[in-house]
């Protein structure tokens, strides 16, 4: 040991301290962070820590009205699944329905009442209290009602059903306003009108896909977003492989292959707008071949005389052989079913097309039969489809506003600024002195409102629903809050009730909360009797509905139906009309409601933005689909930015070369192109902007597929964000099929390659 002098000692002491310090800090850094354990002040009754609670309620993400079960843990919603006892969803649910959680937990939700402080559209809002906001609106309402000027109040809602719709009716009625409208971009007006024309009732029948053996779909993307996709999918699956003896066959007729087209056994592209003509061509074949033997056979022969197979083949571009084959299969396969909608119904001849489709069902006599078309009974609760505003009605509303006939406009969840083409709706809104929005989100229309009274999401509020179409019998379901409200928002119904109260309408609208209103409404259903309701009290009836989430009345309609001769005589499908000349605008624009984002209201849900489009696998963006041959001629490749110009505007989007679209047609998904709808939604372009204001002549519904466009390459390109790599199989037999090449020489048995197992 050497002598340690003073300097060495100091060195050693220094070294020692450094070591101690470092050692101390080392353990400090690897220490487990302290967490807190926060107990309840009072233990809640409805949940236990660590145990999931399920609530049955109703999905509001589209108009199908699926029953859902929401899993909650510690008071937070975790997962949405289909309610197994609900006849529409039967325990299943689509992607959009499950993304409902992100409506609830959306970071861009409005957290409390707002008042516009700057110029409209400037986006400057100030927070106000509920009382301030409600007072301001209620005072105006009261004033107008007192002056008998109630009709100067406009109520514009998204499509709502059940007692909320009834509440709006009551409210409008008491205010003295006739301007109560529901507006949804994808509401099937033409289908209601066609059914009214053919069957005499403006209601949707139940399409029994489950039991059908042969389905002809004219443009209806029944698996994507037509009417009730989850229920249709259930039917599709069962029809395909759910029965031991038969397998349903599906034929899809549309200019651009949709999801349903891909699932179909046969995809046929008829010229856009001629689907109805094709339907009549099929009808002609059925009648002329003597497969139809009804009493009105001669009327049909006369009515269909102009639709011989060859004529129709020429008009539609579908081969005469195909027409014959399909017609024969359709009539010989029992039961068979024809449905129509989507793009086929969005032409100037929309109603006529769908009437022609109904005629096919009539001619094979599948009405009221399993696997055919079944009439629905009267809904048990309030219905509202007659309030649905067509495009023409909306134009009238806009015109009224411009005339200064509207003093107050109350908006509920609908977004016409985004989804109403060429209507000058923004200018019309500018003429309305007070705009009130009850939306939960800052959508494009809400951004123009003066006062925003944000609603609860559907997972926080009371409501009920009577699905339209029903499932062949009458059902209703109650929607209940599954979590306590996240923010300082109120249920739409409660806002309306409060407004009514403050506007002095409490005599006619005495309820204090939406829950009471709904409960009173259901008391009527209870009183109507039926089933075993007499045995139990209303309270237990109510509780059992809340528990099950659904109530049903197994009463079926009498399928008897006689067709008016005048309908047969007037049956005809005029050729479709398009905006823009075919010389200047060589392409027909086929805008379709996006499977993931719907008509755009789901664009603020990150799960839906990140869900690859089923057909193209594109995420987060807009694109325009072009036939490969056309793209080749125009020297366009995937990702090339093109300008799409119609007589009404111009947008820019990247090209996606789509193998299953007709030459001469280009397709674009609707849903993107938001500007104020939050961090996830503000991207892409909105093809609604360039649609022409052409309507279906009979209903005034927007003929959204009737716009011609031209495309111009910009010379710039972007990388399309998508998940798919190479979309061809290269003979690798990844998706194997029973038909064709792959089935030969390849055993369908498991373990076709023997595995040697060494015995030990």
């Amino acid at each position: 040991m050497p002598n340690i002098d003073r300097r060495d000692f100091i060195k050693l002491v220094g070294a020692g301290s450094v070591g101690v310090g470092a050692g101390f800090m080392l353990r400090e850094t690897i220490k487990h962070p302290t967490e807190q354990l926060i107990p309840h002040v009072i233990a809640p009754e409805d949940f236990s820590t660590g145990i999931a609670t399920w609530y049955n309620t109703v999905c509001s993400m589209c108009a199908a009205g699926c029953g859902i079960s929401v899993r909650t843990r510690e008071g937070r919603a975790k997962k949405i699944e289909g309610n197994p006892s609900h006849p529409v969803s039967q325990g299943r649910l689509c992607a959009l329905g499950q993304a409902g959680l992100q409506v609830l937990y959306n970071p861009d939700r409005l957290t409390g009442p707002l008042m516009q402080t700057g110029q409209r559209g400037s986006g400057s809002f100030a927070q106000v209290t509920w009382q301030e906001g409600l007072d301001k609106v209620a005072d105006r309402l009261e004033l107008l009602t007192a002056e008998n000027q109630g009709n100067r109040i406009g109520l514009l809602s998204q499509g709502v059903r059940g007692h909320l719709a009834q509440l709006f009716e009551l409210f409008a009625d008491q205010l003295g306003s006739e301007r109560l409208l529901h507006y949804d971009f994808d509401h099937p007006h033409t289908l209601y009108a066609a059914n009214h024309r053919f069957f005499g009732e403006a209601r949707l029948p139940y399409y029994d896909l489950k039991n059908t053996r042969y389905l002809l779909s004219f443009g209806a993307d029944y698996l994507g977003n037509w009417i009730s996709p989850v229920h249709h999918s259930l039917g599709f699956g069962h029809s395909r492989q759910g029965r031991s003896d038969v397998r349903g066959r599906f034929v899809q007729i549309e200019p651009r292959m949709s999801m349903s087209g891909a699932a179909a056994d046969e995809w046929i592209s008829a010229k856009p707008g001629t689907e109805g003509i094709l339907a009549l061509g099929l009808a002609h074949r059925i009648v002329s071949e003597g497969h139809y033997s009804g009493v009105d056979r001669d009327d049909w022969t006369t009515a269909l005389s102009g639709y011989t197979t060859d004529q129709v083949a020429e008009q539609t571009g579908v081969g005469a052989d195909t027409i014959r084959r399909i017609a024969d299969t359709f009539v010989h396969t029992e039961p068979s079913l024809a449905i129509g909608g989507g793009s086929a119904a969005n032409h100037s001849n929309g109603v006529d097309t769908l009437v022609a489709v109904n005629a096919l069902n009539y001619l094979v006599a599948n009405i009221g039969k399993p696997g055919g078309l079944v009439f629905n009974p009267e809904p048990a609760g309030p219905a509202s489809q007659d309030r649905q505003a067509s495009y023409r009605t909306m134009l009238e509303l806009a015109e009224d506003a411009k005339q200064g006939n509207i003093e107050i406009l109350i908006l509920n969840g609908t977004n016409p600024v985004f989804s109403l083409p060429s209507a000058g709706f923004e200018e019309a809104l500018a003429e309305i002195p007070l705009i009130v929005s009850l939306s939960s989100f800052m959508d494009e229309t809400t951004a123009l409102a003066d006062i925003i009274l944000p609603s609860h999401t559907y997972l926080e509020s009371w409501g009920d629903d009577f699905p339209e179409p029903g499932v062949g019998f009458s059902i209703g379901s109650v929607s209940q809050p599954v979590v306590s409200p996240l923010y300082n928002t109120r249920a739409t119904g409660d806002i309306v009730l409060q407004l009514a109260k403050q506007a002095g309408l409490s005599d006619a609208i005495p309820w204090s909360s939406m829950k009471d209103f709904i409960k009173d409404g259901w008391r009527l259903i209870y009183d109507r009797g039926g089933l075993d309701t007499q045995k139990e009290s209303f309270e237990s009836f109510w509780r059992s509905i809340l528990k099950a989430g659904v109530w049903g009345e197994k009463t079926h309609r009498d399928p008897a139906f006689t067709l008016d001769k005048r309908v047969i005589n007037s049956i005809a499908v005029p050729p479709p009309e398009f905006s823009g000349s075919s010389d200047a605008y060589p392409f027909i624009l086929h805008p379709y409601v996006s499977t993931t984002l719907h008509d755009g209201h789901a664009a603020n849900l990150p799960w839906m933005q990140e869900l690859p489009d089923p057909m193209t696998s594109v995420v987060y963006g807009s694109w325009v689909e072009i036939n490969p041959a056309t793209a080749g001629q125009m020297n366009l490749k995937e990702g090339d930015l093109v300008d799409i110009e119609s007589p009404h505007g111009q947008i820019r989007a990247p090209v996606y070369v789509y193998p299953a679209i007709m030459p001469g047609v280009i397709a674009m998904p609707i849903g993107q192109g938001h500007v104020t709808y939050g961090r996830y939604a503000n991207r892409g372009v909105n093809p609604i902007e360039i649609l022409s204001p052409r309507v279906d002549q009979r209903t005034g519904a927007l003929a959204s597929s009737a716009t011609r466009v031209k495309i111009k390459a910009t010379g710039r390109r972007i990388e399309l964000v998508k998940t798919g790599g190479n979309s061809r199989e290269l003979g690798r037999e990844i998706v194997q099929t029973t038909g064709g090449k792959a089935s030969q020489g390849h055993s369908a048995k498991l373990n076709s390659i023997p595995i040697t197992v060494v015995p030990t």
Binding site: R76, E610, R728, A748
Partner: protein, 255 residues
């Protein structure tokens, strides 16, 4: 027995007939391609059940998305005679899985229930399992993912939120299997009943194309479907002996 024999035996044991007899389950899934419509309800169900991240457009463009189940799409033919076929692709839980051999720390291995496990907290991020997997269903966490508040309130407490540098993949919803076993034990049953447990994707599939169950139970729906003449396995030539069995799409030429 030499060490080499032992290693080889460890490699082979899952494939021996009767290996699973001494255990309670041998989970498997069938996918009926004739029912699948490519609607992707399963994709969202999985995302919501298993805390899959919202990666954002940039990460998506870079190819860093995480989808434990995805739909692959293959075009066949040219217009107008063109078809699009979908196939759901998820971890096949192979009984002789290539990924299991390569993990140096045994973060992925085969367990007694026939599941291909992925133990996140053991993973050191060599990513070799993803290279070895021919189905490319293993996803890597290239970042620490972030949920904009209050989206994080949706996260499933039964599933870990994976940190950066960790591989993840389909677990056949192990948390649900665990839960079902728990319920079975409460009821004094030895085994879970058929249909009592369904992964999120199977649960939600609107066309019921996906079926999940115990392959050991000859009465289970999945066992019955596996005897269907339409069955095949994707990339069967690689002898991965997967637990996910596909049923061929029925295609006939305009019959």
């Amino acid at each position: 027995m030499s060490i080499l024999d032992r290693i080889a035996d460890g490699w082979r044991k899952y494939r021996k007939p009767g290996y699973y007899d001494e255990f309670d389950y041998h989970w498997g899934m069938t996918v009926d391609l004739d029912r699948c419509t490519g609607c992707e309800a399963c994709v969202t169900a999985c995302q919501s059940e298993n805390n899959l991240p919202i990666v954002g457009e940039k990460a998506f463009a870079e190819g860093r998305e995480v989808k434990w189940i995805r739909i692959e799409r293959y075009w066949e033919g040219e217009f107008p005679d063109v078809k699009l076929r979908f196939i759901p692709m998820l971890c096949q839980h192979c009984d002789s899985a290539p990924c299991e051999t390569v993990c140096p720390v045994s973060a992925t291995y085969h367990n007694q229930d026939g599941l291909n496990t992925q133990v996140y907290n053991r993973c050191i991020g060599t990513r070799s399992c993803a290279v070895y997997c021919p189905y490319e269903v293993r996803y890597f966490n290239f970042y620490d993912h972030h949920w904009d508040s209050p989206l994080d309130q949706q996260l499933n407490p039964d599933v870990t939120v994976r940190e950066k540098g960790v591989m993840e993949k389909c677990t056949f919803c192990i948390q649900r299997i665990r839960q079902a076993k728990d319920v079975a034990k409460d009821d004094g049953r030895r085994r879970v009943r058929d249909g009592e447990v369904q992964p999120a994707c199977v649960q939600t599939c609107p066309t019921q194309a996906l079926v999940f169950g115990d392959r050991k139970d000859p009465e289970s729906q999945v066992s019955k479907l596996m005897n269907n003449p339409r069955t095949y396995r994707v990339l069967d030539e690689l002898n991965t002996d997967s637990s996910v069995v596909y049923l061929k799409k029925v295609e006939d030429d305009h019959a």
